[in-house]
């Protein structure tokens, strides 16, 4: 197992290098002077000169790439054009918001997806099965940016149940420790802030959970159907065990193995979807930040944000693969 994990980590290195090459090359195939792109139109001559020296723009490309990598290793992602903040500091500040939203969405997706999947499988071809599978079809086909706006219209503007945007109401004080607001509220026992943070996260998280929920529901259903056909299920039923025990203790455990992989892969989908969801609900995470950067042509931010999101995504995929090997004893790791 250890050999497998270390081999997988080794494969990570060329992939991450590739990602860095793509990000590096992108800037250089864009027409115009990279220094000017990175500093924006307002940059002074001195600043441009300084950056050209710093990036080594007068050197050959491979030397420039080497310098780029060196800076990456030191965690130097440059400064943003508009706010003149260190890109790395900004990312550290915003990533928790994105992760909080993504995790909340995935929890919702897993909870409902797995429940719907199980009921659909145990009651195959029932009305419930048809309805939930049509729902799943609509879910995977949903333009989530539109759904988010519809939710906003119904639940915020018309009914007034949920806050329209943001992470926390203005009048709520919260001592920020980890930048995960829900966690911070629990840690500081600030129940008013907890309620407010949960209230704010519901709509964006439900919006973001649509596609993963549909996929998890489909996957759970088909995995359960497959497992329920196995002989050991018949044996368990023949022993006289209750339907509940057979479904949850015998079948679900094995059916969940492929579901875990699916959920892991959905993390990436959710991370990408976060750009849309955060933009709609003004959620101050990396997604909205990237969107703003694209709009303002802040290439330092685009570069840094892309690198970090891709790196996180790759590491998550690695964890999913390893987890899959750990929980599935039938797969012998080669």
């Amino acid at each position: 197992m250890l050999a497998y994990i270390s081999r997988r980590i080794l494969i990570l290195i060329p992939t991450l290098l590739g990602v860095s090459i793509i990000v590096f090359v992108m800037l250089h195939i864009t027409p115009g002077d990279p220094a000017e792109l990175l500093l924006g139109e307002r940059a002074t001559e001195e600043a441009l000169f300084e950056l050209r020296e710093h990036l080594g723009l007068n050197e050959p490309l491979y030397v420039q790439y080497g310098m780029f990598l060196k800076r990456l290793m030191k965690g130097d992602l440059g400064v943003t054009i508009w706010t003149r903040q260190k890109v790395w500091t900004e990312i550290k500040h915003r990533f928790p918001a994105t992760i909080e939203l993504t995790l909340a969405a995935l929890c919702i997706a897993c909870f409902f997806g797995i429940i719907f999947g199980i009921i659909s499988a145990t009651k195959q071809y029932s009305v419930f099965d048809y309805v939930s599978m049509i729902g799943a079809l609509a879910g995977v086909s949903m333009p989530i940016f539109w759904l988010g706006l519809i939710f906003m219209l119904i639940f915020s503007l018309n009914l007034g149940w949920l806050p329209i945007s943001g992470r926390l109401s203005v009048d709520i004080d919260l001592e920020v420790i980890t930048n995960f607001y829900i966690l911070d509220a629990v840690l500081t026992r600030n129940w008013a802030a907890l309620k407010d943070a949960v209230w704010h996260i519901i709509m964006p998280a439900v919006t973001l959970s649509t596609i993963p929920m549909a996929i998890v529901a489909r996957m759970t259903r088909s995995a359960m159907l497959e497992v329920l056909r196995q002989d050991y299920i018949k044996t368990a039923k023949a022993k006289g065990l209750s339907n509940f025990t057979v479904t949850f203790k015998h079948a679900l455990r094995n059916a969940l193995i492929p579901v875990v992989t699916t959920v892991g892969l959905q993390f990436g989908v959710a991370l990408g979807g976060a750009i849309l969801t955060e933009t709609i609900f003004a959620w101050p995470g990396v997604g909205k930040w990237m969107y703003d950067a694209v709009m303002q042509r802040d290439y330092m931010v685009i570069q840094g944000g892309t690198l970090i999101i891709a790196a996180v995504f790759v590491v998550i995929n690695l964890c999913v693969d390893v987890l899959y090997a750990v929980i599935n004893p039938r797969i012998s790791v080669q």
């Binding site: 494969i11 060329p14 992939t15 991450l16 590739g18 990602v19 090459i21 793509i22 990000v23 992108m26 800037l27 195939i29 864009t30 079809l137 609509a138 995977v140 086909s141 949903m142 333009p143 940016f145 539109w146 759904l147 706006l149 519809i150 906003m152 219209l153 503007l157 489909r218 996957m219 088909s222 990436g268 989908v269 991370l271 990408g272 979807g273 750009i275 849309l276 933009t279 990237m290 969107y291 694209v294 709009m295 042509r297 290439y299 685009i302 892309t306 999101i309 891709a310 995504f313 790759v314």
Partner: protein, 297 residues
Amino acid sequence: MTKEKVQKNPFDRHPMLEQLSQLWRNKTAVVGLVIITVFILTAIFAPLLSPHDPLEVSLYDQIKPPVWHEKGTWKNILGTDDLGRDTLSRIIHGARVSMAVAIISVGIAFVFGVLLGSISGYYKGWVDSIIMRIMDIILAFPYLLLAIVVVAYLGPSLENAMMAIGITYIPRFARIVRGSVLEECEKDYVMAARSIGAKNWRILFLAILPNCMGPLIVQTTLSMASAILDAAALSFLGLGAQPPTPEWGGMIAMSRGLILRASWVMTFPGIAILLAVIGFNLLGDGLRDALDPRLRD
């Protein structure tokens, strides 16, 4: 009389016909096919079908509600936007953009994916390793992110959005083709072709690839569904089709400011996207059942 009534053995039919009839019996696939056909016909005959010019600004008809609303009129069945443009006409013309996006971006991914995947699976060795590592790198970007970044650098336009989506979809095709080619290479007919002296490209493109079409067709259909979604998302973010092009995602973005005053302006394009994507997904699921039982989930 009895002589003529000899029943044909269904197993004698051409395998393609057999698959087609299987597809026909598959209700989901048929529903999907019907939806897609409607959208494609709408796209082709858009100028004939749409009651108004989609770009025509009419200051007298600003923000008209749909016909069933008490203030609605038959002139603008689905109402108008803040510039008085007819929503129905814009949605009908939007079908053109979305169908074009689906065909072109998936076309790019198909051509490059099949080419890279088949070379990878056929030649194996270091060629395979390099191509597959490159695919891994493209897959290292979460969906939509790479497309957004590519468009951010190339500049926002519908063409760039289609290209960006096409690039991000290459790995799915390459992986499927590679797997099928690897499998097919072991079969006797490849050996037979080789023994009669057929050239590599001939074996690959004329003998092996036609046998890998099943999963490819399924992937193409499902990819068209996600291409429509992604292109709409890019346009919604202002990175795809530029105003005043009638594009569904762009229409939703433009009507955000009207959300309280005129929610219908935003509602209908969303329904159009949803229906079109459902159509392709249904057909894809049906095709998967008919053509490729291995992929069934």
